[in-house]
């Protein structure tokens, strides 16, 4: 009897812990903005010191995120001005894993995935994060991490 009670108590205690371990969710529409900074690789054509500032909209729903908007940027060094605007649009699968900040957000479908370190905050009673921050690096064709990219997401 004691063993049964202990097992029941343990199960009851474990339930809330499991429930609270679920990551906060991203739901609805978020403004997404932030800079990307890339190294200028001396003596190479693989990096020109790209600088990009992004202003996007991300709509999260049922395992997918629809991203649209534009980024403006150019090369850190160029023989002629090359600053311009690039539009972005697409819907991509995503999932959030982890038990505490920083979580991991994986975009895409294997094997073509990209992982972001994700910090979630301003979580409401429904478990929806109203503010999020990502930080990641990007690699060039040689596999070197030549860029750093941060994005801030704020829910409307």
């Amino acid at each position: 009897m004691l063993l049964r009670s202990s097992a029941l108590l343990a199960a009851l205690l474990a339930l809330p812990a499991v429930a609270s371990a679920a990551p906060p969710r991203l739901v609805g529409t978020y403004t997404m903005s932030g800079p990307e900074l890339c190294q200028y690789l001396i003596g190479s054509n693989t990096g020109r010191g790209q600088v990009d500032l992004r202003m996007l909209e991300a709509v999260f729903a049922a395992g997918t995120v629809k991203i649209s908007g534009a980024s403006v940027g150019g090369s850190l060094f160029a023989t002629a001005p090359d600053v311009g605007t690039r539009t972005k649009s697409g819907t991509i699968p995503y999932r959030i894993t982890g038990t505490a900040n920083p979580y991991t957000m994986t975009l895409g479908t294997a094997p073509d995935t990209r992982s972001y370190r994700l910090h979630l905050s301003q979580v409401d009673g429904s478990g929806i994060a109203h503010h999020a921050q990502t930080l990641e690096t990007d690699t060039n064709s040689a596999g070197k991490t030549v860029c750093t990219r941060a994005l801030t997401l704020h829910r409307h």
Binding site: P35, L37, C38, Q39, Y40, L41, I42, G43, S44, T46, G49, L76, N101, P102, R117, H119, S121, Q122, V123, H131, Q133, T134, L135, T137, A142, K144, T145, V146, C147, T148, R149, A150, T152
Partner: protein
Amino acid sequence: MTSKLATAAAVLLLTAGTAAAAPRFAGTYTMTDTEICQALGTKAVPTNKGMIGQGMGVMVASGANLTFTGTVQSAPMFDAGGNPFERSSFSETQTYRVTGTANPYTITLTKPNGRSATFRVRFDEVNAAGVAGYATLTGSFSNGTAAANCVTQMVFVSH
């Protein structure tokens, strides 16, 4: 006489009231940081290769103490490919002091080794207790040269 004293006291109170205390940090904030340092020297004789970096983490404010923990990734702005971005963690408690009467205020951060740096700070979403829900810090600093050669911007969002 009593009336004059009461009037003087009222004036003092009114004066004290108009000199509003600067907003403050309290509790936990999501923190992001972007830093860019100039490359200096000439192409033939560079004295440094600059730096680009970004950070993300948490700032916990308790009294005059600000404890920063998180991750930063940085690399030389110019490189031959041998020094790509490195990621490292940071954890440090600094003290802060805010002066000024309106946005932008001046904030002085002092490290445990006594070194201090001063930045402009803008406090927004300030509640009735004077606690900022959103703050933006901007400024310049030196990473070893005589003059400032770096710029930084940090954003703090209250949990």
